[in-house]
């Protein structure tokens, strides 16, 4: 195939969709008039275009997606007003939010006991190390309708990994992966539509 013919062939899809500049279109039309193969290629591409337009690719989220978007915006705009370092409740399901808050409180209390120089008593509590991990974690509750794929995607995006859970209440403890920032991860989780509550321990 000559370079000229290949160049015309590369323009044919845009002749088929009608977006070529007038000069390019005239060049294509002249080439087609002299070459039956190019004319057949253009007919193929027009048929392909018709098929692509007729092809269904699933149902979009529609109004549900818009509602989710509005919730995320409301959560995002409310976030600056929240006190830094405290539990960030972004959705309803009060009992899950309460459980997350209780976990955070218990972890703080445990830390006070452990760090007081005069204390000789140690308490074994549920807010201790999670699955062998003893760094800061984000106690998180996902919505009951969240799918595994959605949760997996969110965790990858937020740069966190599950170090403990799910608990009997459905809470997960998430730790930042190496190099990830905990505060940024908390913000990412807070803004996600599938997260009901998140709190740092």
């Amino acid at each position: 195939m000559t370079d000229d013919k290949k160049r015309i062939e590369e323009l044919l899809p845009f002749a088929a969709n009608g977006t070529l500049e007038a000069e390019e279109m005239a060049e294509v039309e002249a080439a087609i008039a002299d070459d039956a193969d190019l004319a057949a290629e253009l007919a193929f591409l027009k048929g392909l275009r018709d098929d692509v337009k007729a092809r269904e690719l699933g149902t979009s989220p529609g109004e549900l997606g818009l509602a989710r978007l509005k919730r995320a915006i409301a959560a995002e705009e409310a976030a600056p007003a929240a006190t830094s370092g405290t539990a960030t409740v972004v959705r309803t399901n009060w009992w899950k939010a309460a459980a997350v808050a209780a976990c955070a409180l218990f972890a703080i209390q445990t830390a006070v006991v452990f760090t007081s120089p005069d204390t000789v008593v140690t308490l074994a509590g549920g807010g201790g190390p999670s699955g062998g991990y003893d760094g800061p974690v984000l106690t998180t509750a996902f919505s009951e309708t969240a799918t595994e794929a959605q949760i997996r995607t969110l965790l990858l995006e937020a740069g966190v990994t599950i170090v403990d859970g799910p608990s009997a209440l459905g809470l997960y403890r998430l730790a930042p992966v190496e190099g990830a920032d905990l505060a940024a991860a908390e913000a990412a989780l807070s803004g996600a539509g599938i997260v009901e509550s998140v709190s740092q321990e």
Partner: protein
């Protein structure tokens, strides 16, 4: 008013944090952006999440839209980058424009599509394309975008857009010929 002038007015209002304008833009483009993402991901749940992120970014950065491209190009550019980011994170794609050079100019494959027959075969072969090729074909034939606009949205040279569609077309023809051969 054209779609783009409507969309520009909505973007200007979104920049002032007008949620009704965001809803208007969402309703104008949501199905098409979702289709665009789905054409690359084949996963409606992930596509829904990316769609959500695209419009959140529109909400956050509408004030940065400079108007040098159409709103459609800007919006599809955001969707393209977010989809690519998702691919990279999940290591699900190797980005390449390399395709076998073997061509199939079988008259039967050309006739088949030109006559509007065998849509099922065509759909199967479209699904066999790489994400990159399917994306280019979708942009050219569903959105009817000029190659310059596709190049801008995908941040690739215009020549690469033309080459991708050229290779995609040849792969489709080969696939169709193979299926016709199996049927014979």
């Amino acid at each position: 008013m054209s779609e783009d002038s409507d969309a520009r007015a909505l973007i200007a209002a979104i920049a002032t944090k007008d949620q009704a304008a965001l809803a208007g833009l969402y309703r104008l483009f949501e199905k098409r952006v979702f289709r665009f993402i789905t054409s690359r991901l084949n996963d409606p749940f992930e596509a829904g999440d990316i769609l959500h992120e695209v419009f959140l970014e529109v909400w956050r950065s509408a004030g940065k839209f400079e108007g040098r491209s159409t709103v459609r190009t800007w919006l599809f550019g955001i969707a393209y980058r977010k989809t690519m980011d998702r691919f990279r994170k999940m290591a699900r794609v190797t980005l390449t424009d390399e395709t076998p050079e073997q061509e199939d100019t079988s008259a039967s494959a050309l006739d088949l599509v030109a006559s509007g027959q065998e849509a099922e075969h065509i759909r199967h072969c479209m699904d066999e394309l790489s994400a990159e090729h399917r994306f280019a074909v979708e942009m050219a034939f569903f959105e009817d975008m000029p190659y310059r606009e596709i190049a801008e949205a995908a941040e690739i040279p215009e020549g690469t857009v033309k080459t991708r569609i050229y290779h995609a077309k040849n792969l489709l023809k080969r696939c169709l010929s193979g299926r016709l051969g199996m049927r014979a």
